[in-house]
Amino acid sequence: MDLAPGRCYVLIGENGAGKSTLLRVLAGLLRPSLGSVTVFGGLEPQQARARIGYMSHAPMLYDELTAEENLRYFARLYPGRECLAPGEVLRQVGLDPELGRVLGQYSQGMRQRTSLARVLLPVPELLLLDEPFSNMDVESARQMVELLSGFRQSNRTIVITTHQRDLAAPIADWVISLHAGRVATIDPGRASA
């Protein structure tokens, strides 16, 4: 299976099919038990990870910090990289950067958006999103799809796992169905037409 730049791949499958595991393997956080993964033409995992944005089920942020503090913190962990401004990326995901509340007081949907903002911050070349639409209302999910559409048009690759296939349909170039850890089918998506 090859993933081309500027394309969006949607991974579907029942619970336990291996969607999240595949994303973690692609992110270089997990070694595959079988087979191999080559990212960016064979970069070392440590170098490749810096060019990948990975969003998991969990927000991957600190509850005790505000959204802006969290983003500012993570932006500083990318030395020599021109990251987006925390306020700007928060606005892009539909959050108010002036909000003084710590993340622990956010709703699940707001945390999800902040998590997406963290992922977009260093402008990654490969975006891996694990269930990005969970806990989101339809309007917020639609806004997220619009944002991801812009990201895809800048020749960056997106891999999304989701149970809500219809929400991701407008940007899906390929829909990959997984079953018991193996690729069952690869179908062209709506955006590939």
């Binding site: 992110a27 956080l29 997990l30 070694r31 440590q46 170098q47 990870r49 810096a50 990948i52 944005g53 990975y54 998991s56 969990a58 927000p59 991957m60 942020l61 600190y62 509850d63 005790e64 910090l65 503090e69 913190y73 993570f74 500083r76 962990l77 990318y78 030395p79 990289r81 710590v102 963290r118």
Partner: protein, 222 residues
């Protein structure tokens, strides 16, 4: 100090300032140990000076375990550690920032504990008290450098609260011995603690270096 190290440190201090989880739990536990020992042994005069060093070190050691576990539990909660692993910033800086933060928290507890300790044990220091300013930071550094490393090692295990002291305490034993003997000599004025202070400094240099070199392996372990 590099930018990433400073960033990690400021983040840890800010989180602790807002939650006060580590300092509060450590302080309560250390106070409890000091009070219980004073009730159990009825320390007075020379006897108080003999046991005071040991009580102080053991209280610090037990109390710091909760803070050391919490330091990494925060990173595991919501999978923040995975976000750290994705970033290109070196793991050694994350480790060193955690050690510095934990060192600061334990030192604050020791400073708050000191007057209570002096009153409860009715201490009259016979030796050179300024040497405590060498012994306590060196011993505390030995504890938190190893503790932070082994807490990271055991953080993904189910029984991490139990596992940390089981791994940490035997490795910390030489430093504990040096800390207790040196503190005892300072309290009683019986002998010169310089040799033990040098041993503590050597222990700190060796173990901090080893932990720094190995931390990336621990951070990226699956």
């Amino acid at each position: 100090m590099t930018r990433a190290l400073w960033t990690h440190l400021v983040k840890d201090l800010r989180i602790e300032w807002r939650s006060r989880e580590a300092i509060n739990s450590m302080l309560f536990f250390a106070l409890l140990v000091v009070v219980l020992f004073s009730l159990a042994f009825d320390p007075r005069g020379a006897f108080a000076r003999d046991i005071a060093g040991g009580v102080l070190c053991v209280a610090t050691m037990f109390a710091s375990v909760s803070a050391l576990n919490q330091a990494w539990a925060r990173e595991i909660r919501h999978q923040v550690l995975d976000a750290q692993r994705m970033a290109p910033s070196p793991g050694a800086e994350l480790f060193l920032a955690k050690v510095l933060a934990n060192f600061l928290f334990v030192t604050i507890v020791q400073v708050l504990l000191a007057p209570v300790f002096l009153v409860m044990y009715n201490l009259n220091v016979v030796g050179q008290p300024w040497k405590l300013a060498l012994v306590l930071p060196l011993g505390t550094w030995a504890l938190v450098a190893n503790g932070t490393f082994f807490a990271a090692l055991s953080i993904r295990t189910r029984n991490r609260e139990l596992l940390l002291p089981l791994i940490l305490f035997p490795i910390f034993m030489p430093a504990l011995l040096a800390m207790v003997v040196a503190t005892g000599y300072i309290f009683t004025g019986e002998s010169d603690p310089s040799l033990w202070i040098k041993m503590l400094a050597g222990y700190d240099i060796i173990f901090t270096t080893v932990c720094l070199l190995l931390f990336d392996v621990v951070l990226h372990a699956e």
